[in-house]
């Protein structure tokens, strides 16, 4: 089952109130090593057959990211890679 992952983040110069609020809350959890938090969107697009990056890009452009304040990156989900570098945590 082929997946394209789209990460949408606010442009660096754009204020991220959400990230700020979380960052300011960390000390109360006893966490101090974290200097900044930015919160964006992660979107999983499931394709019937072969994942079509161009189509995915078109969708991201039109529906997923707001070009005025956001940028996006996309990549085909290579679950193998994910499995080894990332770690599931069905908390």
């Amino acid at each position: 089952m082929a997946r394209v992952l789209v990460d949408v983040m606010l442009k660096p110069e754009i204020l991220d109130p959400q990230g700020e609020a979380v960052a300011n809350a960390l000390p109360r959890l006893g966490v101090n090593g974290i200097t900044s938090v930015r919160i964006g969107k992660r979107i999983e697009l499931e394709f019937e057959g072969e994942p079509d990056l161009d189509q995915a890009r078109a969708v991201a452009d039109a529906l997923l990211a707001n070009p005025v304040i956001e940028t996006f990156t996309l990549r085909v989900d290579d679950t193998a890679e994910a499995a080894e570098t990332g770690e599931e945590n069905a908390a």
């Binding site: 606010l10 442009k11 660096p12 110069e13 754009i14 204020l15 991220d16 109130p17 700020e20 609020a21 300011n24 707001n66 005025v68 304040i69």
Partner: protein, 771 residues
């Protein structure tokens, strides 16, 4: 959470354009034209400074002398407001302040203002509209008031146009997001669709606040040695696009991207800003205060210093930055949101920082009040600004721009809607009523308004879809002696089509409608504010429209005996050569001695007698009927009758006091037909209507004659109410009775429409278009 250290920002140190450098390099070419300054304006700046401005100074002058900040094209006309304003001892602060302040009771005052955020809302609808709300709320806060409500007057392009589907939902979600999260009830507004706003939606936001008279604040940076404190959000590159041409050539940093970066609002921080400012006011910690809006620090620093006739020293390196890589002119021009500038006496600074810290808001001392009479700003230890603050804030250019009456006026006036084909059969009348009820401008606005919290604060006595928003001034425990709790009523109105046909009349019609909307709730109108949305002042025709509208508004307020307490001008609302319909939006404020007596709209009690107040004439030009049924705009708008409006208001006020009326609804867009439809749909209670025998049903149903309202009189009060109308010379015509057994709107001898059919037509439109 402190500002980035100077150490991090040496990237453009060597070519820093200081006052010394500027004096030594008089011939250095400067991009003043790109910054929107004319040759003579640039020359005047050099003249004021006795040298060329530094980059930072050039940025500041270009901003403060812009149309938006200097009102250079409108000043000469706006004078009329002050000249014509009726004298009243209610006015505690007027034009020129952040917002006008009107005294309501012995110890309570109210401040309200409308401001536009049109262009930003077109570029980024959600954030543009959100920050529009945030901006006007800070103006209200700066007067010493607790903001208690917002309203939004919106204009969009054609409802069916694809771009409207992008702009409207974004604007509404932005207003909803910011206002709701801030805890301010939204108590009213407008939504109008017209192709003339396609490339220029109008987003006018109103905020109203309440303050104890004794808490009134000012923006004076007075008191030698007092400390200048910046409160709120860190400063980032928000909205600095305007001055980006000044970015130093050899900018090393990765992002040389200087496109205007969109301002993002954080209502959470604004809420904390409100609470901390109010706590500081009550503890008398603040000498002067000014909000940071458009023009950011540049405006706040120069206006506070100029207002006090003092000087000011600012160490710009102390300003907490969101991004290290900012230059002086960027810090000065930044429009980062949720910031206030405070002037604090040195012995109170500790307490101010403590209050800010309690609420988790950043507060930083960035300078002092001096007696040099100059605004001096240092950056990296060197002086980059040294100028008289008044030259930025007050002595900007003033233009008497050429004006020219459009030559098509005679043609337009001759093209009267009264001559258009009319529905001739009862079946056609019925179809027209239904079709208009479902037309975007008249259709039910719940899809929009249910995204707004209208009740937070617990003082909302009336709100959408009632004619005016009504608030109890309970927040500060006000009960006028001998009466119940005091209330205020507010309505905003504007009619671009009428104003396009005749700007003088159109402005007065907007005023009259807002006044009427307030009056039908039983409130006494006492003050007005405005937001004047027009095209380019460099177009003589637009300038003429503007002058006419101001003249009409000032004259109208004088006749209604209510002062204009302040307002806002938005020029350059046009795409290419075509301007929007000239659109003055007028807000009227009223008072209710006992808010419990406020009159709602909508049929409710079976048996109530329905009475039409006012005269109906065959006035159809510029009407919603002409536009929605024929796409026609021409002729002469309905006649203004301000004496009639005053008489109507007097009747409504008295009738409300003695409870002669159970409901009332003013007649405006769509005329009697639409007023009946809205009154039936409000509580889903029907009515039987019998038009007078002499009446031409079409004219009576669809004409938009002014100074009219529909009222419901409980059985037994008819005589007394009739006498009241005669006493005030208000024509009154019994039209029928409230009757739930009618099952909807029945116009005897002509047609009837079931409540369900009306609801489907009216309530289906916006969800179909935008849901």
């Amino acid at each position: 959470m402190t500002g980035t250290q100077p150490a991090d920002r040496t990237e453009s140190f060597d070519e820093l354009d200081t006052v010394d450098v500027a004096s030594k390099t008089p011939d250095e070419p400067q991009p003043y034209a790109e910054l929107g300054l004319r040759d003579d304006e640039y020359a005047k700046i050099r003249d004021i400074l006795g040298r060329r401005p530094t980059g930072s100074e050039l940025a500041m002058y270009s901003i403060m002398w812009s149309e938006h900040c200097s009102y250079k094209s409108s000043k000469v006309h706006l004078k009329k407001f002050s000249e014509k304003n009726p004298r009243t001892d209610r006015m505690l602060a007027g034009i020129g302040e952040n917002a006008g302040v009107v005294q309501i009771t012995e110890d309570l005052a109210v401040t309200f203002k409308v401001e536009s955020h049109n262009h930003p809302s077109y570029v980024e609808p959600h954030q543009g509209a959100a920050t529009g709300v945030g901006g006007i709320v800070r103006d209200i806060l700066a007067m010493g008031a607790r903001p208690v409500a917002v309203m939004d007057a919106l204009r969009f392009g054609d409802a069916e146009h694809p771009d409207t589907k992008r702009v409207l939902p974004g604007v509404v979600s932005g207003i909803s997001f910011y206002g709701n999260c801030l805890g301010l009830p939204n108590i009213g507004g407008e939504v109008v669709f017209d192709p003339s706003y396609q490339g220029n939606p109008l987003v006018n936001a109103l905020s109203v606040g309440v303050l104890p008279v004794s808490r009134l604040q000012n923006k004076n940076a007075s008191g030698l040695g007092n400390v200048v404190v910046l409160l709120g959000q860190k400063t980032g590159k928000d909205g600095i696009g305007g001055v980006s041409v000044l970015a130093s050539a050899t900018f090393e940093d990765g992002d040389t991207d200087n496109r205007p970066s969109v301002q993002v609002g954080d209502p959470f921080v604004e809420k904390l800003l409100i609470e901390s400012c109010l706590e500081m006011y009550d503890a008398e910690l603040v000498v002067g205060i000014q909000d940071l809006g458009g023009a950011g620090l540049t405006c706040a620093l120069s206006e506070t210093a100029a207002a006090a006739g003092m000087g000011m020293y600012v160490d710009l390196d102390r300003v907490p930055l969101r991004e290290a890589s900012m230059e002086a002119h960027e810090v000065l021009a930044s429009e980062s949101q949720e910031r206030m500038l405070l002037i604090v006496s040195p012995d109170k600074v500790g307490e101010v920082l403590a209050v800010a810290d309690k609420w988790g808001v950043l507060a930083t001392a960035i300078g002092q009040v001096t007696d040099t009479g100059r605004l001096i700003i240092n950056w990296h230890g060197q002086t980059v600004v040294d100028c008289p603050p008044g030259s930025l804030a007050d002595d900007g250019p003033v233009y008497n721009r050429p004006m020219k009456e459009p030559n098509d006026r005679a043609l337009i006036a001759a093209d009267r809607a009264e001559t258009l084909p009319r529905p001739s059969t009862d079946e056609e009348l019925r179809a027209t009523v239904l079709n208009m009820a479902g037309s975007p401008n008249l259709a039910d606005k719940t899809w929009i308004t249910e995204q707004y919290d209208n009740m937070v604060g617990g003082n909302t006595a009336l709100s959408m879809p009632d004619d005016a928003g009504v608030l109890r001034l309970d927040a500060t425990g006000a009960v006028a002696p001998g009466t119940g709790p005091v209330g205020i009523a507010l309505s905003t109105d504007g009619n671009g089509r009428f104003t396009r046909l005749d700007p003088y009349t159109g402005a007065q019609l907007a005023l009259a409608e807002a006044y009427r909307n307030v009056a039908v709730t039983g409130a006494t109108p006492i003050a007005a504010s405005d937001c004047l949305n027009f095209g380019s002042p460099e177009d003589p025709h637009v300038m003429w429209q503007f002058a006419q509208a101001v003249e009409g508004l000032a004259e109208g307020c004088a006749q209604l005996n209510i002062p204009i307490t302040g307002g806002n001008v938005s020029f350059y609302n046009q795409t290419g050569m075509t301007a929007i319909h000239p659109t003055p939006v007028v807000a009227v404020l009223g008072v209710l001695d006992d808010v419990r007596r406020r009159v709602p709209m909508g049929f409710d009690n079976d048996g109530d007698v329905i009475v039409l107040l006012g005269e109906t004439y065959a006035e159809l030009s510029g009407s919603e009927w002409a536009w929605s049924q024929h796409g026609h705009l021409g002729g002469i708008p309905p006649a203004v009758d301000l004496a009639g409006e005053q008489a109507l208001a007097a009747v409504m006020r008295r009738a409300a006091e003695v409870e002669h009326v159970s409901a009332a609804h003013d007649l405006s867009d769509g005329g009697l037909a639409q007023a009946l439809v809205e009154s039936v749909l409000r509580n889903k209670v029907g009515a039987r209507i019998k038009l007078p025998d002499h009446a031409d049903p079409f004219v009576w149903l669809f004409a938009e004659s002014t100074a009219r309202a529909l009222v419901c009189i409980p059985r037994g009060h008819e005589k007394a109410f009739g006498a009241l109308c005669e006493e005030h010379d208000v024509p009154w015509t019994p039209l029928g009775i409230v009757d739930s057994s009618a099952g909807g709107l029945e116009v005897v001898d002509h047609f009837s429409i079931s409540t369900a059919e009306l609801a489907e037509a009216s309530e289906g439109t916006l969800p179909r278009l935008f849901g």
